[in-house]
Symmetry: C2
């Protein structure tokens, strides 16, 4: 994060000091360890993964006009959108500098591909926003792109740096991708959970922004005409009044769409678990499997 331009370490440091789970870099470190990697390149590459993630968070908060991130004032709320856009660009460039210094074209390919797919996913989300008729498949495409791809890249490069056979690389990519899907599904459930406040977020942000996530998609599909009118008014037309969030949560509870979204997440979690089947048991394998449970348990 070092730079002679003081605002850069200041702004980037604010976001990083605010905490966060650091899931993605941990996944790179654990994947490399699972592959019996003995060097130290995975540490710098884990930092690259977190820098790319941090850059997308900074830009996301500008796009979403968020005031809060990780329970603290968001960078754009403190320093303005301009600084968030530019420091995001800086961190993104820094990640590519670090990867270039590392020197693996395979890692560069995986993470530049992931970055392009993430940006595509974010644009796709922007274009499909406020559309309650969005299909489950289209929604999965978005979360695969915007979230799961970086999880997949994070674990895949653990195998690449350890120079492991293609099958292990693909197993770790699959683990990351499916864990990432589960993670985002649970994140979308949590947005409607009262426990949210413990994570420093506000309940119902997605609803107020008109974001169409799986709990809403299922409620729309399972609802009657009056209910669909409700979703069309609140989500598609963004015409919301007091009590609408409560009504939305009542409908999602009645149709069990929150618990069924958790069920869907368990499905992807199972795929992630099986993907690791080709690796012998070890302490770090247990950590990676526990991580699946951790990601899904957040929903309670």
């Amino acid at each position: 994060m070092k730079s002679p331009v003081a605002l850069i370490p200041q702004l980037a440091g604010h976001l990083i000091a605010a905490g966060g789970k650091r899931l993605r870099p941990v996944m790179t470190l654990a994947a490399a360890q699972l592959c019996n990697y003995n060097g130290d390149r995975h540490i710098g590459l884990a930092a690259c993964v977190e820098f790319i993630h941090t850059a997308t968070l900074l830009h996301d908060d500008v796009v979403d006009e968020s005031d809060l991130r990780r329970g603290q004032a968001s960078a754009n709320a403190i320093w303005g959108n301009e600084a968030s856009v530019l420091v995001g660009d800086f961190l993104f460039s820094r990640a590519f500098q670090l990867m270039t210094a590392d020197g693996s074209l395979d890692v560069l390919r995986i993470l530049s591909d992931a970055s392009a797919v993430i940006a595509e996913g974010e644009v796709l989300q922007l274009m499909t926003a406020n559309e309650p008729t969005t299909s489950e498949e289209a929604y999965l495409d978005v979360i695969r792109s915007k979230t799961a791809t970086l999880f997949a890249a994070a674990t895949q490069i653990g195998a690449v740096v350890a120079d492991r056979p293609k099958a292990e690389e693909e197993a770790l990519e699959s683990y990351g991708m499916n864990l990432g899907i589960a993670f985002q599904l649970i994140d979308d459930v949590l947005d409607y959970s009262a426990d949210q406040q413990a994570l420093g977020k506000t309940v119902g942000d997605d609803f107020r922004d008109g974001k169409v996530t799986l709990p809403v998609i299922l409620a729309y599909r399972r609802g009657d005409d009056a209910e669909r009118d409700f979703w069309n008014r609140t989500i598609a037309n963004q015409d919301q009044k007091d009590g609408d969030l409560d009504e939305a949560m009542r409908l999602m509870t009645a149709h069990e769409t929150l618990s069924d979204t958790v069920e869907r997440a368990r499905h992807y979690g199972s795929i992630a678990r099986d993907a690791l089947g080709i690796f012998p048991n070890s302490e770090v394998k247990t950590v990676l499997i526990d991580l699946i449970d951790f990601v899904i348990r957040r929903a309670y």
Copy 2:
């Protein structure tokens, strides 16, 4: 620019179809030719340079809240800031995908370094905005970072792709850096030139934004107390009224700061010209030297 997400080619195509001089990619192509390069890698790399430039333009227009770019409605004015931020991220990622496919770690190092320096320069500019006491050196630091570094990288990679000795690489880097400084100085003069409208821009945009460029820095330093009060009110305090732009231009004319900024540009143009001295005469060398005159002549 291809992507299954329709808005990406649409938005990127809008900006690219609007024209622009395509100076930077032309510089990569010409530099490679000057180095007697016979392959075709320089074409893809020239596209990378233009993509990085396009990404920074998209983000700049969000940061500056510009409505106009290359004489057309800016992308953020048509599709909103969100789309501009994300499509900029996409083009930036795409550039790194293309470079990775090309496979030169030297090129990756030069362009990832340049990207980080550009972002630093933009943040620096943000932090020093509205400060008429900015020194000429500090201003040069900003334009070196935000503009000249990409010019330097564009020509340098022409030598890298042709696998030329370090001296030629450095000569082309110096040519690009100094041409880039001259280019930005002239750009800053043009902002106060009536001919501006021909370029699809509005006269006095920098003044209204309170941007401190060399013509203002010199006018402040050469002005008396009353004049400095004027600059402090209009630039530092952003308190502007009708007739202020005319007064600013009158002061800059009285102190000859526009013509002296062109003189400064000629100085950097001369360094750029001499940097090419180690290359034998050729048609493409004449083109690169004519480019210096073209960049400076724009001011008339």
